[in-house]
Symmetry: C2
Subunit: 101 residues, 2 copies
DNA sequence: CCAATACTAAAGCGTTGGCTTTAGTATTGG
DNA sequence: CCAATACTAAAGCCAACGCTTTAGTATTGG
């Protein structure tokens, strides 16, 4: 599952997809509901959605003719952990530097 | 400075740039030092570096003929904060849901 | 001084990304 | 039953990416 963090970052690197994740953070919704604020075709939204799913940030489930999209917290957690690690390394280095002085 | 988070994500969305940031997390280094483990031209590394700088993740400084690259902790912090916010929203929602049951 | 070092700038090239349009399929309210 | 709804699949288009090569400039150890 690790080593795929850059897929998460790549997914969030597009403003539309970032906004979609922000929107889904407030609760699940249908594809057309998710698409509503965006000035683009539904097909385009679906393509973004697919990238979000492949990155592990979003999970979707189809019931009847409606596909419901929701955040996958594990995906967010993976990326958040990466930042914590970088910061830990950085701070550890500053500590060593401090002790040298 | 905010609203630029997707630039940070975009910068980290490339495996080479992600690796560069990981490398710089352990300490500053020159451009050629940074480039050493990568199987690509120095020019390519410079191009990645420029994107990292524009995203605010990395700061560089030239002294003599050597440009030294170091992490900009504020850039990492910005992105980390974004994840914390999403998680906060998500958890707040689960709380409301829990109280309803 | 000058060759080696350490980058830098610019052009070009094939691939991927974000979008569209068109043409579907599956589901359901009335 | 059937028209409207909610997506889905595929093809095509243009811009942005990631890389290369070539040809520089600035700095410095000896």
């Amino acid at each position: 599952m690790t080593g795929q963090v850059h897929r998460v970052f790549h997914a969030l690197g597009d403003p539309t997809r970032q906004a979609m994740v922000e929107r889904l953070s407030t609760g699940p919704m249908s594809v057309s509901g998710l698409a509503e604020p965006f000035a683009m075709s539904l097909a385009a939204v679906l393509q973004h959605l697919q990238i979000l799913e492949e990155s592990g940030l979003v999970r979707t489930e189809k019931l009847g003719r409606v596909r419901t999209c929701r955040i996958e917290p594990a995906g967010l957690a993976l990326a958040e952990a990466w930042f914590r690690e970088r910061r830990a390394l950085w701070e550890r280095r500053l500590d060593r530097l401090g002790k040298l002085l």
